[in-house]
Structure formats: C-alpha cells, structure tokens
C-alpha cells in the first residue's frame, strides 16, 4: 500500500512538474533570437569516439554535443586545439599516414576531412543518410562510411572526393573494423535486419573485400539485435564484436527470471572457426550496452565498455580460449560462464563509448560521453590511472541528469537494462516486444521513435499513459525495470531529457523544403476527403483526420482494424508520424514489415484509411509523401 501511495505521489509531483518544464522550454523557444543567444547555455561536449595520432602523443576526440574535434596532448592531459566540424559528429578515423582525419557528421550526411597539420577542415565529402562509422583502406586511398539510416556503406575515392559506389549493408550500419592484413573490412549494425514477424532477431557482420570493394560475406548473428564496435587481434586470428541479445519474444515483466538483454560478444576468425557468442554478464549482475571494444596488441586481453554500466569489462583471452575448448555446446545463455574469463570490471565515467589503445598496449583511453572526460586505464593493472577533463560546463543541469538516467541501466533489476537498450542512441531497436505480464504472445508492441514528443500524448499503443511522467515513471519502473523507483526529481529530469529529443532532419524532403511531384500527389491523397468515385469518405477514415496537427496525430484512440485477437483491446492510439520512414516495422505490433504492408496486407476493409481504391502508383505516391513527414 505504501508503495502504491508512493507511486501516486510521484505521479502527482511529476504531473505538476511537467507543465513547469514545458512552460520553461516553450519560453526558451519563444524568446527573441538575440536574447536566446545570450541565454543559450553552454553545451556539453559528449565525447563519443577517439583516434590516436601515429606517435601516440595526441588524442583526437569527437565531441558529439559541440560539433567539434578536440585535440588532447596525452602527456599534459590538456586540450590543445578544437576543430569545428559538421553537426552531430559520430565517427573518426586517422589516415594511415597520419595526415588526415575523417569525421562523420551524422546530421549533415557528410564527412569532414581534417588536415592534422593545420587542424582545419579541407574538404567536406557527401555520404548516405546519417553517416556513423568511418574507415580507410590500408593505402588510405579509399574511405568507407557506414550510413545508419540508409542501411548502406559509401565507398569514397579520396583522390577525387567522389563517392564511387554504395554497398548494401545490414539495418543501421554503424561501425567498422579493418582486418589485420587490410584485406577485409567488417561492418556492424545497431538494428537487426528485417525478418519474419515474431521471429528471433538476426543481425550480421558485413564483410567487405577491400581489393574489389564489394561485400563478399555476411556473417549471421543469430538472436542478436544491436551490434556495436568490434576489434581484430594484431595477428588477425581473432575478431570480436559487442552486441545485445534481446529476449523480446517473452513478456519483459519476467526480468527477474532471466535477462531482458544478454550483453555479449561474438567471436570470429581463424582462432574460432565460424562464430561463437559468449556472455559478458554475471548471474546476478549485468553489464549493459557493450559498446567499445579493444584487443591488447599481445592478444592477452579483450576490453569492452559497458555504456549502461559505466565500466570496462576485461577478458583474459587465454582463459576464454580454455572455456571455448572445454565447453562442448553454446554457452552464451550461461551467465556463470563469464566468471571463467572475465578478470576485471573497471569503473569509469558515465556512458563510456569509444575506446582506443596505445600502440604499445599499455594504456587504454575511454570516452565517457556523459562526463565530458576520458578515462586513462593502465591495461596491465586494470585500473584507471588518470582522468582527462575535456572542458565543458561544470554544472550538471536537468537535461544532462536526465540523459544520464536514460542511458544508465542502474535503475533496473540487477542492472539489466536502461531506456537506451530499447531506444538505442535515443531512437528505436527495430524489435517487437511482449511487454505486459498478461501471458505469452499477448499485447505485442512495436517500438516507437522518441523524436519531438511534446504534444503527442497520450503514450503507449493503447493510449493508456496520459503523460510522459506516467510512461517513464511507474510503467517503466515497475513493469520494465522491476526495481527501485526514480525519485520525483529524477523522473522530472528523465522526462525533461526525453522531451528534449529533437526531430531528426528528414532526408526525403527536397533541400528547399518543397515536395517532389510524387510527394505532392501523395499529399493530396493523404488529405483527400472523397473516394475516387466522388463519394465522401467518412471522417474517421481520412488519413488527415486521425493523423492531424503538427505531429500528425489527433491523440485519440480508434479501432482501425489492425488489432489482433491477442490484443487486450482493438483501440489503438493514433501514432505521430514524424520521420515514420525511419522506424520499421509498423503498426502497433510491428506486424507490417514495411509502410506498404500497412495497406496492402492489413487494411482489407478500408478501416485504416481508405486505400483500396488506389492504384499501385497512387499508393507509392502516398508513401513517398509519408516519408517526408
């Protein structure tokens, strides 16, 4: 009873706080620009990835929050220079000769080429949608860029600066590793590949032949969703990628009976044969969101950052190989196994991401994204010896506190997962979840984007949560995390952060914001009020009625015929449509694998908008318009 009262109390407090936050945010937006510029708070740096100069003296740090690369003198631990780049930089690589840095600008769809001598951007190279990982071939003449939103890899000739081809990647292409001999590049993906509805997720390691510049292999990663950084040993015989194994097919409310996510590695290469997955977690403690990976030059240890657990896991490779030899069947689900090869968990700063190792293997540098710092780890001693402060605001505001909560797994039972497990980099995970404790296979729900959420209430697919404090508070704490509650201040911080997540730049609008002829035709279909034969379409069956307003939702619930017999209710909350193109699968339960299937498969009676009088090209026009929202 006390617990219930606490929850109610929190909801009441949150409900009071939220309008205040909203008013504050609205006030900030409505102020004249000059005033706003003066009042604009100092931005956090959010260091996310790094590269080390060839002599090991300089650390190039990509600062996602301030759109720059900061150069750190390693010996003095001082920031010596800053180079502005494009918006939301995410990836970095140093050319083999050390004269150039390539930095991906994920919002701008470009790569900045930086002259490391003059520390200026000398070229800006166009890429695919949301470039993330970057890598060059051994000669430094070709740049590969992993485009997260267009699911492909740009191959750029660095002599001409021209993109010469686009290779098909998996879903959410993000990170690269170059093989030791330079003959292959391995690409990983933060989302699973599209697959059958309610089947175990599958991801892949995309293998590129650098001589032919083509994809030559796709290593299947079974029951794997998000895959992050990878590394290859200096002898080329051992490859490693960090990954999430979700348990999305059974009710998430069962976290106390087993993990919701398995934090794990896939090993590959001649030492392994095919691929083997191994757990990183322990029986009663999890190390959420394994992100950055490094292998010691002498192949003695593997280091993995746990972005949700603020630590670095250290694996003894000899002991791991012994485990692999003695285990005669897959043991990725046996969390006791990690005790055989995990030799240390090193606490670092908040949300550790990218990691680089000095060429002598003595020091490991870890980018603490939400601390604006770099942890320097003595690799042999498995301890942090220094922390390099990169600058940035000294005070931690509500947004930053909320962001830390969002990315931390600390609130969930045994540290199993945080908000960012399902909302990877504050987006989606491409999965359908069985969230509710109402039986297996009931009330399956798809994951929605969190962009620009203000004004889209209520939340949850049935509209059951009237506001974000309810959505992020009791629901998340009790049903998902099965652990301690956020206190009212924390909940407010978290809600503040979630509401701050912006609308990502839409890639399908023309640069001038106008629509193509096909998109214009689609808009007319979206807004039509009559069938093609002239009859009036009932109001509730018009696209622009339900999907109305600035966020394309009238915030009501309807039975549009897409409910399943396993759903508690056929009433579905009208979802917002901003950047809907970026969040397959579709419908409340993810049963539509593409936008087309919403109408070609799941709308036989015209209950989810009138579509059955459209020709195929008209339906294509409608979809082209939806992609622009």
């Amino acid at each position: 009873m006390t617990l219930l009262l606490n929850i109610r109390s929190h909801i009441r407090i949150a409900a009071k706080v939220l309008p205040v936050v909203g008013v504050l945010l609205a006030g900030m937006l409505m102020k004249p620009s000059a005033t706003r510029a003066n009042a604009e708070p100092e931005k956090y740096l959010s260091p996310i990835e790094m590269a080390l100069s060839l002599d090991g003296a300089k650390l190039y740090v990509v600062c996602e929050g301030t759109n720059e690369v900061r150069i750190v003198d390693v010996s003095s631990r001082a920031v010596t220079a800053q180079v502005p780049v494009g918006r939301q930089p995410r990836g970095i690589v140093l050319s083999p000769d050390g004269t150039r840095l390539y930095v991906s600008n994920s919002t701008d769809d470009t790569v900045s080429e930086i002259d490391t001598g003059r520390l200026v951007v000398v070229r800006t190279l166009p890429t695919g949608f949301e470039p993330t990982g970057v890598i060059t071939n051994r000669s430094g003449k070709t740049l590969y860029v992993a485009n997260r939103l267009s699911d492909d890899i740009s191959v750029i000739d660095l002599t001409s600066g021209q993109e010469i081809k686009r290779l098909l990647a998996g879903h959410g292409a993000s990170y690269f590793v170059l093989s030791a001999d330079g003959k292959q590049i391995y690409c990983t993906h933060i989302y699973p590949n599209p697959g059958r509805y309610r089947a175990q997720p599958q991801s892949e390691i995309t293998v590129i032949d650098t001589a032919r510049q083509v994809v030559v292999e796709r290593k299947d990663l079974h029951n794997v969703a998000g895959v992050f950084h990878g590394a290859v040993s200096a002898d080329g015989r051992l490859g490693v990628v960090a990954q999430l194994r979700p348990k999305n097919l059974i009710p998430l409310a069962h976290v106390e009976h087993g993990w919701a996510f398995g934090d794990s590695l896939t090993l590959f290469g001649p030492d392994i044969g095919g691929t083997v997955q191994i757990p990183l977690d322990e029986l009663d403690r999890y190390y959420a969101l394994p992100w950055g990976v490094a292998i010691a030059p002498d192949k003695s240890r593997i280091f993995v950052t746990a972005a949700g657990a603020d630590s670095v896991t250290v694996i003894d490779i000899q002991r791991l190989q012994k485990s692999l030899r003695t285990q005669h069947r897959p043991f990725v689900n046996d969390l006791s196994a990690s005790a055989d090869y995990v030799v240390a968990r090193i606490p670092v700063g908040a949300n550790p991401r990218g990691m680089v190792m000095s060429t002598d293997g003595k020091r490991l540098y870890v980018a603490n994204r939400l601390d604006d710092s770099i942890s320097v780890i003595d690799a042999a001693g498995s301890r942090v010896t220094q922390t390099i402060e990169l600058g940035g605001p000294k005070t931690i505001n509500a947004l930053r506190r909320g962001e830390r909560l969002f990315y931390s797994a600390g609130k969930s039972f045994q540290g199993q997962f945080g908000c960012a497990n399902c909302h990877i980099d504050a987006t989606i995970d491409g999965l359908e979840w069985d969230l509710e404790p109402d039986g297996f296979g009931k009330d399956i729900v798809d994951n929605r984007l969190l962009e620009d959420l203000a004004g889209t209430e209520p939340f949850k697919w049935n509209g059951g949560n009237p506001d974000l404090p309810t959505e992020c508070g009791p629901r998340t704490e009790k049903f998902f995390f099965r652990s301690q509650s956020f206190n009212p201040n924390q909940l407010t911080d978290l809600v503040t952060f979630v509401f701050s997540l912006p609308y990502r730049r839409n890639r399908y609008r023309l640069p001038n914001g106008e629509l193509t002829p096909a998109q214009e035709r689609g808009k007319a279909i979206f807004e039509r009020t009559n069938y093609k034969d002239g009859r009036t379409i009932p109001q509730a069956n018009r696209c622009a009625y339900s999907h109305s307003g600035p966020k394309y939702t009238n915030r009501q619930q309807f039975d549009v015929g897409t409910g399943k017999s396993t759903d508690r209710s056929p009433l579905i909350d009208v979802p917002q449509l901003m950047n809907v193109v970026d969040s397959p699968p579709y419908l409340h339960d993810g049963s539509a694998r593409s936008l087309e299937e919403i109408w070609t498969v799941f709308n036989p009676k015209d209950t989810h908008g009138v579509s059955n009088d459209l020709t195929k090209d008209q339906l294509n026009d409608l979809i082209e318009y939806l992609k622009t929202l």
Partner: protein, 365 residues
C-alpha cells in the same frame, strides 16, 4: 600432278579457306547440363555469367554453377518464387538482381532481400526483366515498368498513365547510361531518355500482326520480347522477326531474307553494333554483320547441327559433334569467348574452339 595430289591440294585450300572463315564464325564444343548433373530444373528461362560463376534461372529454382558444381536456391532459401525469369548483375557491387514469378530479389553476399507488390513499391510480382543502371534498378513486370533508386529506396512506376505504354506487359529491359529500352509485349518498344526523363514509343508502322507491309521502315512487329542496346544501337526481338535501329534507320530481319532459323525470337543479345545472338524456337543464331550461323540439334533427327549462311545466301552445313541441349532457346550469356545458353531442356555451355581445333576438324563444302 596426279589425282591424289590434286585432291590434297583442294582439301588444303578448303581447310585454309574454312579456317579463315571460322575466325569470324565461332564454333563450339557444347557441354549440356540437366537435372542429371545438378541443374535445378531443365526448363531454363535465363542464364547470367558473373565472372567465374554462372547463374541459371529455372522453372524450379535458381542454380549457381561454381567450381564445377551446382548449388540450388529456392523459396526456403529466400528466393521470392521458384520460377526465375530474369537475372542482372551489378558489376560495381557484385550483387545479383533476380526477377521471379513472385517478386524481385536482391542477392548480396548470400543475403536475399525480397521486393514484392505487397511489401514494396514494385508494380507487379511477375518480373520478366531486370536491368542495372548505376544505382538504379529497372524492372519489367506484367504491370508496367518499375524503377528503384537503391540509394533512397524510392520507387517510380511507369505505365499507361504516364508513358505511351498502351500495353503494360513489359517483357524485357535494357538500360544504358543515356537510354533505357523496354520491350513491351504487344506494345512495341519504349525508350526512356535519362537526360530529358521523357518516354518515346516505337511501333510497327504497318500495324499488321501477320504481314510485313513496310519492311525496314520501323519496328518489325509489336509483340516484342527482348531489347539489347549496345554502342547506341538498338536490337529488338519479336515473335515475328528482329529489328536493328541505329537512331535513324531501321533494318529488319526475317527468315526469308536472313539466316534467322525462325521469326519466333525469345531474346536478342548484342555484342556490339554489328554482331548479335538470337535465341529462337528453332535454334541459336549468330549474326556477325554479314554471315549467319545456327547452332542446334537438327529439327528432324535431332543430331548436332551447325549451319552457316554467307552474304550471298549460300548455306554450309558444318559437321559438328555436339549441339545445345534443345532447339528452343530462351537466352544467352557470355563468358570470355564461351557462351552459355538457356534452353527448354537444359543449360548449355558452348566452349569456343580455337582456330587449330576448328581447322583440324575442317569440313568439306
């Protein structure tokens, strides 16, 4: 000079003469594949050479011939439908595009991605033809043309509503940098200009289905089955003859005035502006700009046969030991000097003989 010496001299002259002629007209030793030696099915709709690999689209699966053995892909492996109608390779990425009776596949390093009329913007699931033009995939379907921009995933459909396509049964596509040509079954040929983004149609000027009243004044017939655009020359196959168009003049080919073994042509594949291969229901034909050759099992006794027709219309029967698997030819693909041939009863590999081999087996005229 005695009689024996005369005969020897005459034979030597003939050998030299044939060897010289044979340099122009290719001669092959044919190796045939059927289900008996690993082909997924004997009904082969299409064939595509991709480096050292050979792909065969059959009525019951996609076959891959690599390092001397066959691998079969069927719907359980990710193929959209077991009947594979068309194939195209993207040489830049190494990906294979596959048109089937149930949708379109992209096969990339072992992964099949499927596009259908239900899950994508593809206009129809029966995909008769596919062609790659840079980052763009063109498909010929039973309900018009579809274009996929692989960089943006945007589809564009072309049909009777936005082109001069009065029939929407598109049967084949041949994209090049400047133009894209479609064979429209019953609707002639459609040309898409990539610069102006405009469509233009070419039709039979006499409009007669059974007669040719206006030869060399336009497309030979409107029931077109294949187009091949090479070196800015368009070749067209129809069920009533073939056409060649250089942008100004048309030239038509019929059995009565060419070496074509039949006017019923399933495919034309050009090598350049002067040379082309014709897949007909009565054998495989080659035209080198002057002479014709036909390769087939003879129509009566089904014995290996090779006929050569010169510019004057003289026909030479070249004795051969092997022939393609069947007379009914559906398509060809080239592997260096060799040729692979899809037939109604198997896949044939034509291993081109060199001059010495040809000379040593020189025929008598």
């Amino acid at each position: 000079m005695n009689t024996k010496k005369c005969i020897a001299l005459l034979a030597a002259c003939l050998i030299v003469s044939w060897a010289s002629f044979a340099q122009e007209i290719p001669q092959f030793r044919w190796e045939n594949f059927t289900t008996n030696n690993g082909l997924p099915d004997n009904h082969v709709f299409c064939v595509l050479v991709d480096g050292d690999r050979v792909w065969a689209g059959t009525e019951n699966g996609l076959g891959l011939y690599e390092k001397g053995s066959w691998t079969t892909f069927r719907p359980k492996d990710g193929l959209a439908h077991q009947a594979v109608l068309s194939l195209a390779a993207d040489e830049r990425t190494g990906d294979l595009w596959i048109g089937t009776m149930g949708g379109l596949n992209r096969l990339s390093a072992g992964r099949f991605d499927t596009y259908t009329q239900l899950n994508s913007g593809l206009s129809n699931d029966i995909v008769y033809g596919v062609g790659v033009q840079g980052d763009v995939l063109w498909a010929a379907t039973a309900a018009g043309a579809s274009r996929l921009n692989t960089r943006t995933s945007q589809w564009a459909l072309f049909n009777e509503r936005n082109t001069p396509m009065y029939e929407i049964w598109t049967y084949a596509v041949s994209p090049a940098e400047d133009k894209v040509y479609y064979a429209v079954w019953g609707g002639g040929v459609l040309e898409y200009d990539t610069q102006t983004q405009r469509w233009k149609d070419y039709n039979d000027p006499d409009g007669e289905t059974e007669m040719v009243l206006m030869k060399d004044q336009g497309l030979i017939h409107e029931i077109t089955t294949s187009v091949s655009y090479v070196d800015k020359i368009l070749w067209v196959a129809t069920y009533f003859g073939a056409s060649r168009y250089d942008g100004r003049y048309w030239h038509n080919f019929l059995t009565k005035d060419s070496g074509l073994p039949s006017n019923f042509i399933n495919q034309v594949r050009a090598i350049d502006g002067n040379r082309a291969w014709f897949s007909t229901d009565k054998g495989l034909a080659y035209y080198d700009g002057t002479n014709w050759a036909v390769y087939r099992p003879s129509l009566d006794k089904h014995q290996p046969e090779m006929l050569v027709r010169d510019a004057e219309g003289n026909i030479t029967n070249i004795p051969v030991q092997t022939a393609p698997a069947h007379n009914y030819i559906l398509g060809v693909s080239f592997q260096g000097r060799d040729i692979w041939v899809a037939t109604a009863e198997g896949l044939s590999h034509g291993i081109r003989l060199n001059n010495t081999e040809v000379a040593s087996g020189a025929p008598s005229k």
